[in-house]
Amino acid sequence: MIEVIKPGLYSSIQDKGRFGFENYGVPISGSMDQFSSILSNKIISNNDNDAVMEITMIGPTLKFKTETTISITGADMSPLLNGENINLFKPHIIKNGDILSFGKLKCGLRCYLSVLNGFKTKKIMNSRSMYANITKEFRISKGDILNLESKINSNNTISLNDFEYENHFKGPFIEVYKGPEYEKLSIKQQTNLFNKKFTVSNKNNRMAYQMNEAIENNLDSIITSLVMQGTVQLTPSGEIIVLMRDNQTCGGYPRILQLNESSINKLSQKHMNDRIIFKLI
């Protein structure tokens, strides 16, 4: 098991998500950057859906009380094992008593820690993804004990394509499809959406990312309808909101764009004031 010495800014356990309860208002949740969390699992030959720790901006300090193998992917938060720097994207064998901590955030916003066969926190409604009012906690706290299996494996089975990884963190382009209400926008509004520079506001979390810049809006609200991860909503005051993994399942704002899966992952690694350009697929 792992003892949480310091929880970091916002660390939670996530898997691919909680499916099948959306019609009861339960979001799918899951790792914000699924690309990085699945990659982290693959590095130590886990299953894609094994539960990982999603770490946001400031990393935790964790004490291992079991031997295991770990890997860390996603944002570079300068991970340290017993005070020594360790590499991302590599399996590391952990001994009983080892301490994992993090230093300076160098790029990205969220990193993913995998342990062999995944974190064994309690499954609720077929998933270990933490979400308020479904799981007991929505993030980890100081003193928490997280269960895992005692097992090691040092076979690295995956080779990384550096270019793909570069593209994942850099560049402003977010790929989108037209949303159900896109055609209701005027030509000017449509042009603005793709020509205007947007930046991520301080209102960004697992539920949604709001942009600093607004566009003119005269569309009426719609009868409460269905939204999903990556839906871009336009509020009455013209604000642009991109729904993320813990999104509400329905909403009444016009749905003007829809991100593809890889752009949701990419946006999850963006910070406040990072630049975004929507690009039509």
């Binding site: 208002g25 949303g179 829809q258």
Partner: protein, 238 residues
Amino acid sequence: MKTYNLKYKKFGEYSILVEWPQIINEKILNNILLFKSELDKKNNVKITSCKTSYNSLLVTYSDHNNKISELKSFYNEIKISKKLKIDKWEIPVCYETEFGKDLNLLEKNLSLTINKIISIHSAKQYTVYNIGFLPGFLYLGGMDERIFHPRKEKPAMNVEKGSVGIGGSQTGIYPNNSPGGWQIIGKTPIDLFDINRNNPCLVKPGDKISFHSISKKEFQLITVQEKSGIYKLKKNNK
């Protein structure tokens, strides 16, 4: 089933959105729910999510190769004689002002006595059009317009779990402690959403809800019974 002229739209990489006419009524709701229940019965492993709202159905697939034409012909072949299985629930609500913190305000603004507000609210049968916003939050339609009341200008920071509120033309129950802007008129001791049950949410879209007024003593008794798991919520499926 060719009752309505439906619009089918691709929505993102993996989903198809089906839209009914933009009117709120039960015929449309039942048509949507029948479509969903027939889809659910097929147990298509390629469908990862299927959800409904007032005028729409959203089907999400595990790959890109999903065709609007297939979904269309599936809908058109559903027999209209198929009936939906729905439940009618009777929810106990204590309308004492201790719980119904905004009853005094509503009495003033609506020019109705508190007793009249309660009798109007508990006389109607409501339809569950949608569940969302929070896990287990029911969007109920069918409220008597005499008790329509705007939401609060500033949402309350903490509305207690079980609170029954009025927001515009809608009424509903808060399934968990949360911030909220609805005017609170009472509280139910019933856990509508419980993660420990096989089916966490008792109520489903299309079901009917009615409220019956209980005293504070009954409220306390049901709270204890509910906690120990011996309370059985009344169904009135006549």
